[in-house]
Amino acid sequence: MTFLTVSKVHHTYFSSKTATEALQDINLSIDKGEFVSFIGPSGCGKTTLLSILAGLFRPTAGKVLIDNQDIHENADLSIGYMLQQDYLFPWKTIEENVTLGLKLLSKEKEAANELASKLLSDVGLPPVEKKYPRELSGGMRQRVALARTLAVDPKILLLDEPFSALDYQSKLKLEDLVHKLMKEYGKTAVLVTHDIGEAIAMSDRIFLFSARPGRLHQTFEVPEEVRSLTPFEARANPSYSTLFQTIWKELESLEHQQSS
């Protein structure tokens, strides 16, 4: 069942001197509960596309539909968006940070706080509700950011390289956690990454973009035997390596085309 449709999306950034075409004729669809990744060389517009999906700005042309509704016309559509850094508000406690979205939607405070405690334990944190972000490590803070994103019960999760600023161990742990939670909650998720391994280990499908202008180059299906594993285990599977090689070569050839 198609959940999200991107049709004929073009996007151009304008400045007083230049007009830069970031995305050209993007068409894709994502099923409900699916986990997909966007990868590609820098300048391929993957983050631009993610921002458009998040409704942060409108594309120059084209449409994005979620459940057959234009995302820019549906005001109460909730979207979860995770950034490279946690962007927890340093003057708010962990509890206030997690319940921020609920507060803006004017949900009841007590219920929100209860949900916050539950989410914090779901993302594998000890009770740190009353602490401030500066008292937690980078990995813990990104977990809090995940809890904040999940608190509003978003229909879709958009992950903009959320693991890239973490140390390797925290990154692997967090990948497993996000993968597990997405399957448990049955959420649809889009991950932007430049790490081919991460894309294969976490997703069901991978969209490879080419750069300048950003175009959808190729789609890869992740084989069933890798999908059923956790991201950590997936990395040890033989099919993982095969797919890694294929995508690696494809990326190399893309970069060759560009430099020549």
Binding site: A54, L56, L83, Q85, Y87, F89, L100
Partner: protein, 264 residues
């Protein structure tokens, strides 16, 4: 070697250093007054102009006894505090309006530059004629002197808040007012506090100049009066009182800073 005893030793050293710093601070103060007194009584300096601590002390006792010092300083203090609060408050509100409408901020930009570079005290005569020679024109002067620079500094702080915080709020469908309340304003508290610190000094300038011009009450009036009758004891006494009040106001702002900014 014991960690506890080393730690105790470290703390003892810290305390010792603190005591010495305090000692020298007090020493400078005492030396200053002693030197002043000696220089004045030995006529190294002109007694008529520079007075002496004992003379100022005598005048202080006299002026406290007839309540005139209390009367004049409470008048000035009230004006300064009000001018200071108004200047910062109006500055913050103007900054918020400029943040709200980027178009308006572009339109007003050259006017802010002009208003900021103009010496506000030069408006004094006009204010006094327009608002009457009383408290309201002096308070306006105290506020006016700090309002434009506060607007510019605070607006710059609003604009430099990391836009990723706004992205987070935007995905929660926050309104522009919610973005201001949840991210822009709290992120700018440190800047607002440092503006407050600058404004303490500015408000005193505005109010004292205002009192010079109106010349009916207040410490500024005492200074101008003392100058006209060549009573420099009075001038210096007023200056000392101003220095003490300005310091207390600054300390209060620092207290506010500690209360507001807990997360640093």
């Amino acid at each position: 070697m014991n960690i506890n005893s080393l730690h105790e030793q470290f703390k003892a050293n810290l305390r010792k250093e603190k005591r010495w710093v305090r000692f020298y601070q007090i020493l400078i103060l005492v030396l200053f007054f002693v030197l002043w007194e000696v220089a004045s009584s030995l006529r190294w300096i002109d007694q008529l102009i520079f007075s002496s601590p004992t003379k100022i002390g005598q005048l202080f006792v006299e002026k406290v006894a007839d309540y005139s010092l209390l009367y004049h300083s409470s008048y000035t203090l009230f004006e300064t505090v009000l001018g200071f609060i108004l200047g910062t408050l109006v500055g913050t509100i103007l900054a918020a309006i400029l943040w709200w409408s980027p178009f308006l901020s572009k339109v007003l930009d050259p006017y802010l530059v002009v208003l900021n570079s103009m010496p506000k005290v030069a408006l004094g005569p006009i204010l006094i004629v327009a608002l009457g020679p009383g408290m309201s024109s002096i308070i306006t002067m105290g506020a006016l002197i700090s309002v434009i620079i506060s607007t510019i500094v605070i607006y710059t702080a609003f604009r430099t808040v990391d836009s990723n915080y706004l992205k987070v709020l935007q995905t929660f469908n926050a309104t522009r007012f919610q973005m201001f309340k949840e991210a822009i304003l709290p992120a700018s508290f440190p800047t607002i506090i440092s503006t407050l610190k600058v404004n303490v000094g500015l408000a005193w300038v505005g109010v004292i100049v205002g009192e010079f011009l109106v010349s009916s009450q207040g410490l500024g009036y005492l200074i101008i009066y003392g100058f006209q009758v060549f009573n420099f004891n009075l001038v210096l006494l007023s200056l000392l009182v101003i220095a003490i009040f300005a310091t207390i106001m600054y300390q209060l702002v620092e207290l506010l800073e500690r209360m507001l900014i807990k997360n640093e």
